[in-house]
């Protein structure tokens, strides 16, 4: 099993190196095949590991080599194979394979085709390292790896000003999050003298409550940065400047869930701090709601999906906060299916319209896209939470836990569910229904995408529809929850709900979804714009960027300007120039001593010697 596990991580790295060192000579086709095969084989290795693991119990550590060994700090390069890591690996490699395949067609003819696959393979490697690492330091390596790949891929079209600054924005927001992860690591190491997960979990109970809260809040900052939660969420919509497969893979299905993964991974520490978990739940609930409101007013198809991603991750964070870790993972997996599907579907739409992303210029695409349309339809129904698709079960699990934990958060989450159904229906109607509004800008009719793009859509649609069976509530086993809970130290379990309550809650969820659906259908049928419903406040992300600009951006610019004109010009330059001038002036004075007459020098020597002699005589005598 160990060998298979090593292969999971190694294969994408091999793919990355193969593309890196194969020069620019190889064809696009060969690059695509190598990149896709590397990740595909990694998926096969994951499945093998999974099957072999089913016969094991608990956690298996695969030690590779020692990386750092300084005093009490021992950092091995080792993999931790447990249910959580395997679940993550399965959907990461699986969806990566599909998206690699999709990219071979979507990116065909791009100038930097080879570079795209290079980054994509490196990303998958980093993500798997993050997930499989057995200690926080190695996780941090993967954490930074996915961050930098995200930066490269967001600013993939770096000649575009907006793409270049979106990349920078993503990078800087993530740095703030990294600070959280680093301080969590520092705090843990100071108190427990180990950074391996097993060691931290064993020693966690010795942490004082205050320290545990501090660590949990640091972890929350890390998760907020990576997973785009309040207050660090507004980099994700800008990250849509990257190519659509990147949005689907990195900014929807995998990387942005790393923050949630980290929180779930650290569940033994989270258990110790009820206050910390409250904050997590509130942040998650608020993010879910705020992002959903913003999504209702966006005009760019990818922006809607981006805010929808933020909102869905908000649900996951909420689930972590109220202690239902397995529900968070369940939604993470289901979300990976349907959000990848939606993004790839939107990519197919954009592809068919030659790069048009504005929903006002779409409409009536259903009959032109015979495969994209039905798959997108299924993705839409899934994310809206219509039974019996995966989204309904995953969101339902979180909503019913929220009901037991906190009625206020439940109300917020339910409202978000209505909004989710509403904005997704709006997107669907604007894109596929109504009249065709693209004619003016198009020379030929929209065309369906090649098979390499539609095949992943079909696979993901099937997964979205049937993904719910992973964890059906009435099945005695609670299949996935039971499996994943092997790597989780749970808080006191939430109060058990009677069957009647469960069914009532499920019906309420379904009604919420249908309410949103119906509202959007009534309001948006035959319309492309409704200024009254697209509040400028929502469209401009609750003025969040403006607030940051006013509070951080502009004051810092002022400080920089002052530093540039006053500190630099007067203090630093003043000191340097002043010193130089002092030397120059004193030299001008001292030059006069050099008369050029040997006699003067000799006289000076004579008096000097005389002084020395007088001194010596005085001292001796």
């Amino acid at each position: 099993m160990g060998h298979a596990a090593v292969l999971i991580v190694l294969l994408p790295l091999v793919g990355f190196l193969a593309i890196l060192f194969n020069g620019k000579g190889i064809s696009e086709r060969a690059t695509g095949v190598v990149g896709t095969a590397a990740v595909g084989l990694s998926f096969v290795a994951t499945v093998t590991t999974f099957v072999l693991y089913l016969r094991h119990e608990g956690q298996v550590t695969v030690n590779l080599f020692t990386w750092l060994n300084v005093d009490t700090l021992h950092v091995p390069v080792a993999l931790l194979i447990d249910p959580l890591a395997l679940t993550m690996c399965l959907f990461v490699t699986g969806i990566s394979t599909l998206i690699h395949l999709y990219s071979t067609a979507y990116m065909a003819g791009e100038k930097d085709f080879r570079k795209f696959f290079l980054y994509l393979n490196l990303f998958v490697f980093s993500m798997l390292l993050l997930v499989l690492a057995n200690n926080l330091v190695l996780t941090f390596v993967g954490w930074e790896g996915v961050g930098v790949c995200s930066y490269w891929l967001v600013s993939y079209y770096f000649t575009k000003e907006s793409a270049a600054s979106a990349g920078k924005k993503a990078f800087i927001y993530n740095r703030v999050g990294d600070l959280g992860l680093l301080s969590a690591m520092f705090l843990l190491f100071t108190h427990l003298h180990t950074l391996t997960y097993v060691g931290v979990f064993q020693g966690a109970s010795t942490l004082s409550p205050t320290m545990a809260t501090l660590i949990v809040l640091s972890l929350l900052v890390a998760a907020a940065g990576k997973s785009a939660q309040i207050p660090l969420f507004n980099w994700l919509p800008d990250a849509m400047e990257g190519p659509t497969p990147v949005s689907a893979l990195i900014h929807a299905a995998t990387m942005v869930t790393a923050g949630v993964f980290l929180l779930v991974r650290m569940s033994p520490v989270l258990t110790l701090s009820a206050d910390g978990r409250h904050v997590i739940a509130i942040i998650g609930g608020l993010t879910a709601f705020v992002a959903a409101t913003i999504a209702t007013a966006q005009k760019d198809i990818k922006k809607v999906l981006a805010f929808s991603t933020v909102s869905q991750i908000g649900y996951m964070v909420l689930a972590v906060g109220i202690g239902d870790y397995t529900a968070a993972i369940f939604l993470m997996v289901a979300h990976a299916f349907f959000k990848a599907l939606l993004f790839l579907g939107s990519g197919s739409v954009i592809h068919s319209l030659h790069g048009e992303q504005d929903m006002r210029k779409m409409g009536g695409l259903a009959k032109f896209l015979p495969l994209t349309f039905p798959t997108f339809l299924l993705g839409w129904l899934t994310i809206s939470g219509v039974p019996p698709f995966a989204g309904f079960w995953a969101k339902g699990a979180i909503l019913s836990s929220a009901y037991s934990a906190n009625k206020l958060l439940y109300a917020l989450a339910l409202l978000t569910a209505v909004l989710t159904a509403y904005y997704m229906t709006r997107l669907f109607v604007l894109t596929f229904r109504g009249e065709q509004r693209f004619a003016a800008s198009m020379t030929d009719a929209p065309h369906e995408s090649p098979w390499a793009m539609t095949l992943p859509l079909v696979v993901l649609a099937v997964l979205s529809v049937f993904g719910g069976v992973l964890d059906l509530p009435w099945m005695h086993a609670h299949t996935m929850a039971t499996f994943v809970s092997g790597s989780i130290v749970s808080v006191t379990p939430l109060a058990a709900q009677s069957a009647g309550l469960q069914i009532t809650l499920a019906v309420v969820d379904a009604c919420a979804a249908l309410l949103g659906l119906a509202a959007a259908f009534t309001l948006w049928r035959g319309r492309s714009e409704r200024p009254g419903l697209e509040l400028s406040f929502f469209e401009h992300v609750w003025r969040w960027d403006d607030a940051y600009d006013a509070v951080i951006g502009r004051p810092l610019t002022t400080v920089a300007t002052v530093a540039g004109s006053v500190v630099e010009d007067q203090v630093i330059d003043g000191a340097v120039m002043g010193l130089a001038q002092t030397v120059t002036r004193s030299s001008v004075g001292l030059r006069k001593i050099q008369t050029g007459f040997v006699r003067h020098y000799a006289l000076a020597m004579f008096f000097g010697l005389a002084l020395i002699v007088v001194y010596l005589v005085a001292r001796v005598g």
Binding site: K592, Q594, T595, F597, V598, R599, A602
Partner: protein, 101 residues
Amino acid sequence: MNVPAAWYLVLAAALFGIGAFGFLTRRSAIIMFMCVELMLNAVNLTFVTFSRTLSDVGGQISVFFVMVVAAAEVTVGLGIVVAVFRRRASTSVDELTEMKG
């Protein structure tokens, strides 16, 4: 006949004084050289004197060093003087002020 050491020292001091005075007052480079030699030999004389009175041969060895260095110095110095004389037809050091600050 045994001359007291003090006399040698007085003679050496007188020679050194004459040399120093000459060095400071004369302008001809040749004469200044001669004055330098005078001062060096005055010092040599004190070395030898103390070597005798203290029965320490180190003083006399120092004298050899001084003589060798003086010979070398004169060689180089006179070479420079000859070169300067060829260009200016004068050995007055007061005219050589190009290097002043």
